[in-house]
Point group: C2
Chain length 250, copies 2
DNA sequence: GATTTTCATTTGTCAGACATTTAATTGTCT
DNA sequence: AGACAATTAAATGTCTGACAAATGAAAATC
């Protein structure tokens, strides 16, 4: 593994890329210990701080973990599903938030992907998944719930539906789509009437899942998508009108 | 923004988390300049190398970019779709590779999600998307193609199909599912007969997309999923038998 | 044999310095 | 006055050297 000192890119970035490539290509395997920082510095012909910056880059992606003390060092990390979830959610959230993605676009993608889980989830969901869906739907019907808590419960409900498919890869992919929507959903204030309708649809999904009717689940998800979009539209319309009558309009 | 020097976690990790949270929460907005490293070091009451390690962590996630020179510094980065794609693909690839995810599980997730794009893509695909699909199917029919080139073309074909849906969020999500499969697909050696069948199915998908028949696209994708699984199964069966007769069996 | 102590190794952090890049500023010439 | 060149200040990139803290192995002790 060599780096080019004449490359305009940071040395630490080059070193990180070299090690990352080695991990992805399988030349470094899980739990393998990397050379110590001093040895890496010697190998790459850079100073120790530079090596450290490279290692921190890798640590930020959960590619390595470090341990202090004798026989410590940097080890190739087994990327856990949880770590992957969190990274995916962070990236997805920022992607939506920073690129002016419209609510409709995000919503369309999210429900399209979730419908992809409907058939599998209806077929395979355990009693546990069903119980979680019922419990969350019940919670959502409680009157004193804050909008944030309502949204959080909404995420938990859909998560249970997705997890019901019993495919961890799908759960991982959907985590990004579902959770990244939350900041957008939090912009909506749900009236009691809105909540009642959502709970009705959620209950319908739970019923269909109980009956192992994947088509019905998908169908209700489509209804929920449409309802969510109209809700958002009315919120945005009201906001546009409000900003049109005050001085902060642009 | 403060950090806890008694926290067992690395100071640089704490600082990175504090800044990351500020970005996600919108307290730091796109293209805003962070204080210089020296100022950050003073604010957080740590040394400059520690601040730098924190900034490198954020740079690894494309959350900031740095610029040298006067009026340079660290700026909050607008996470581009391309950056997000690449991070997502890296994470997905490692997740599949390091956690013993079975070919069937990954394959099921990938095709389920891709079917979610079928209807939208059939409805919205441009002439360009269709042309790309046709071109890639044609390339795949060429005799001299290496297995790697065949797989790469396969990815390009499906990418065109997904992009046809005209939803960048969906393209982003699917990128992880489709591209992360490539290392697994590369383990398969495609015979001429296999390739012919895949090309036939790809052509069918292109035909259905041309006819704007989403159901047909989804149906052929299901066929392709089944065919891919049987291909993989025969490869793994052959490999298992081979390893059963040699000394490296475990 | 079990427990405690010592010790070498390795990462975490710091201080200070110099090199390099970059754009605003200043100076100079036409 | 305007265009171009030199200067300069500010910032990141990198290096050296040092010490602190953690940690497991080995040695010493009971």
């Amino acid at each position: 593994m060599k780096i080019d000192p004449n490359n305009p890119a940071d040395l630490s970035a080059q070193i990180a890329a070299a090690i990352r490539d080695a991990i992805i290509a399988g030349r470094l395997i899980v739990d393998e210990r990397l050379p110590s920082e001093a040895e890496l510095a010697e190998n790459f012909e850079v100073s120790r701080p530079t090596v450290r910056e490279a290692l921190k880059r890798l640590a930020a992606q959960s590619l390595i973990r470090t341990q202090r003390g004798a026989f410590g060092g940097a080890f190739v990390n087994r990327l856990s599903f949880e770590d992957a979830y969190n990274q995916h959610i962070t990236t997805s959230t920022l992607l939506l938030g920073m690129n002016g993605v419209s609510f409709d676009t995000a919503c369309e993608a999210r429900f399209a992907l979730e419908r992809a889980c409907a058939a599998l989830s209806a077929e395979r969901r355990s009693a546990d998944h069903l119980a979680t869906m019922r419990a969350e739907a019940l919670r959502q019907a409680q009157p004193g719930l804050s909008d944030e808590a309502f949204c959080a419960s909404d995420v938990a409900f859909h998560r249970a539906l997705v997890d019901g498919a019993g495919n961890p890869v799908m759960s991982y992919q959907l985590a990004g789509a579902v959770e990244a929507m939350q900041p957008l959903m939090n912009m909506i204030t749900f009236t009691a009437r809105d909540r009642a309708e959502i709970v009705r649809l959620h209950s319908g999904i739970a019923d269909a899942a109980e009956a192992r009717d994947g088509d019905a689940v998908a169908h209700i998800l489509t209804e929920l998508e449409a309802y969510t979009k109209t809700l958002a539209q009315s919120v945005f319309a009201a906001r546009a009108q409000a900003s049109g009558t005050d001085s902060t309009a642009r």
